[in-house]
């Protein structure tokens, strides 16, 4: 890549990034335009944390991007559409849902038996890790709200040192653009939401495509040298590469053919996959930083959700990475599923269909309207002050 095309690509990346921020403001604006009734409906839906968790899984499985779902959740929180308590289970669900992409990629190896077994194991180690971590941290969060507390502390800490204003210059550019679009759409809440969502999808899609082209090729040597070395280094590379390409699906999908070909083992790629889990949280953090740039209380709540995503993943990785026996659990489960899928390939399809689509749908519909009072919103986690402003 020569200097000219490099500069051009950088400009395009910046423009796409600005469009991503505009889309967040449009979505936030649309929720405000749709008023209190809409917010109450959303609040009621997400007040049950189990429903929230499975909404996160299903939505991310459908759009195959946790960045899209977590950014939307952050925008919703900033607009007062949902509470932080309602948002955290969705973010946890998004963590599970995002691993569907490389599991689907692994199904493409179906014509070669051994290759298929290894591919399934290589892809589902990410699924199993996320499922286990959610199974541990989700009840703990419900009982103690420790993730909420840590993320609140981080958000307030960052705001306290002026970090929330880090991206306020961006707001100077994006705010007039989003205001102009909202005015152009006659302040119709639904139209603004549709434009916001479409813009979010397009912006994130092209951001990933552009960054993948620019960054992944350059990361080839880093990947080759460090990915399958010491677990801690592999994890750091996983974080770095995922931050650079803004998509954990891209980085983890790279490992599937390597495992399928038998060049590396599931245990070897696992730390890298863990890094990707942390790296993918940067998108929602960026989104929250823009939304919090005006210093509003709602912006700080959005920041809290983004930090909850980071905290959840950092805790998950901290539990697994240092201890080989713990690290081996998802690896063993993934290998077990790989062996099962080779005996009957329908198991692999059934697994994807059940975990990512059928189970979330069943839980969402079966528990509709059931509210839980054991996970009520804490003081300050209110939305009414924001909606309709």
């Amino acid at each position: 890549m020569d200097r000219g095309s490099g500069v051009l690509r950088t400009i395009v990346v910046v423009v796409v990034l600005l469009l991503f921020f505009v889309s967040l403001e449009l979505m936030g604006g649309s929720f405000k335009l749709m008023g209190k009734g809409f917010a109450e409906q959303l609040l009621s839906t997400t007040s049950n944390p189990f429903v929230g968790l499975f909404i996160g899984i299903l939505a991310t499985s459908l759009v195959q991007s946790s960045s899209t779902v977590t950014s939307m959740v952050v925008a919703l929180v900033a607009a007062g559409g949902i509470t932080v308590s309602g948002a955290i289970p969705i973010v946890m669900g998004a963590n599970i849902g995002t691993s569907v992409t490389n599991t689907i990629v692994s199904l493409g190896h179906i014509t070669r038996r051994e290759e298929f077994r290894r591919a399934i194991a290589g892809a589902t180690v990410h699924d199993f890790f996320n499922l286990i971590i959610v199974a541990i941290l989700f009840p703990l969060e419900l009982a103690t709200r420790f993730i909420t507390k840590i993320s609140l502390w981080l958000a307030e800490g960052l705001t306290g040192v002026g970090g929330a204003e880090l991206l306020s210059p961006v707001k100077v550019i994006t705010k007039p653009v989003s205001n102009a679009i909202i005015a152009g759409l006659g302040e119709n809440g639904i139209a603004v939401l549709v434009v916001g969502v479409v813009l979010l999808f397009l912006a994130l899609r092209y951001l990933v495509i552009l960054l993948r082209k620019i960054m992944l090729g350059r990361s080839e040597r880093i990947l080759h040298t460090y990915v399958f070395g010491a677990p801690a280094v592999a994890m750091l590379v996983g974080i770095l590469v995922t931050v650079l390409v803004q998509s954990s699906s891209i980085t983890t999908s790279v490992t599937v053919p390597l495992v399928a070909a038998g060049i590396v083992t599931v245990s070897q790629i696992f730390p890298f996959v863990l890094g990707a889990n942390i790296g993918t949280t940067i998108t929602a953090l960026l989104a929250a930083l823009v939304l919090a740039a005006d210093g509003s209380e709602a912006g700080v709540l959005a920041l809290e959700v983004a930090f909850a995503h980071v905290t959840f993943n950092v805790i998950g990785v901290s539990l697994a990475l240092p201890f080989r026996p713990i690290r081996e659990v998802p690896v063993q489960l993934a290998n077990w599923l790989g062996n099962l899928a080779v005996k009957n390939r329908a198991y692999a399809f059934a697994y994807v269909g059940f975990v990512f689509f059928v189970l979330p749908l069943v839980v969402i519909f079966a528990t509709r309207g059931i509210n839980t009072d054991f996970y009520s919103a804490p003081e300050g986690d209110a939305v009414e002050s924001v909606v309709g402003q």
Partner: protein
């Protein structure tokens, strides 16, 4: 790769065609090997022209290389690993054809009929090698790693016995120079055929970076 491709268990057409060509190469090489060894060990007259059959094998090798390149250019996301495997081992299948032709040429060097204890040992090894041929062919077609491992293990055993056979021939003073050369060169070619078959089986039984290596699970 489109979403609905995931539910398809058939291969892309060019890869399917390459797999069929690979099977034709192995089938043709097996026929050539059987004809050539029948000439060498059972003193039969070669009816089929081994050179013509070898040309077929060579043409199939070119066809596979072209088809795989075209497939990778069109749809690199599907069957990428298998495409690389095909390119890695197609040369082994081609070399088996060459070696079978050479065994036929060695038979022509012999100045008398081949019989006796040494020939009996080679006949037994030849019969077992034909089984390895079939195991390799089937394991490759069905991507059956268990059959492929069996093929590699049997191939390894046959090669050890061929080394021992060569030692015994070298120590047998009763053999004429012509018979000793014919048996020695013939057995070395058996060993090479066995190695190439093992290489092909390794593409099913072994990780991608271990293709052409000896059995790694021993």
């Amino acid at each position: 790769m489109l979403f609905f491709d995931l539910f398809r268990r058939d291969r892309p057409p060019l890869i399917e065609q390459s797999l069929e060509n690979m099977q034709v190469m192995l089938d043709t090489s097996l026929r050539m090997f059987q004809d050539a060894t029948a000439s060498l060990l059972e003193n039969e007259v070669l009816v089929r022209d081994l050179s013509e059959q070898d040309k077929t094998v060579n043409q199939k090798e070119s066809a596979i290389r072209r088809a795989v390149l075209e497939h990778v250019a069109i749809d690199p996301s599907r069957e990428m690993i298998f495409s690389l495997i095909l390119i890695s081992i197609v040369q082994d299948a081609e070399r088996i054809g060459d070696l079978a032709k050479s065994i036929g040429e060695v038979a022509q060097l012999a100045d008398g009929r081949r019989h006796g204890e040494h020939v009996g040992v080679l006949q037994d090894l030849r019969d077992r090698l034909v089984q390895v041929f079939r195991l390799t062919r089937d394991s490759f077609a069905d991507a059956d790693d268990e059959q492929a491992r069996l093929a590699m293990e049997r191939s390894s055993q046959i090669k050890q016995e061929l080394t021992e056979f060569l030692r015994r021939v070298s120590e047998d003073d009763s053999l004429s120079p012509n018979t000793a050369v014919v048996l020695a060169v013939g057995s070395r070619m058996f060993s090479r055929v066995s190695s190439h078959l093992s290489n092909i089986a390794s593409s099913v039984a072994m990780p991608f970076d271990q293709i052409r290596r000896p059995p790694g699970w021993e």
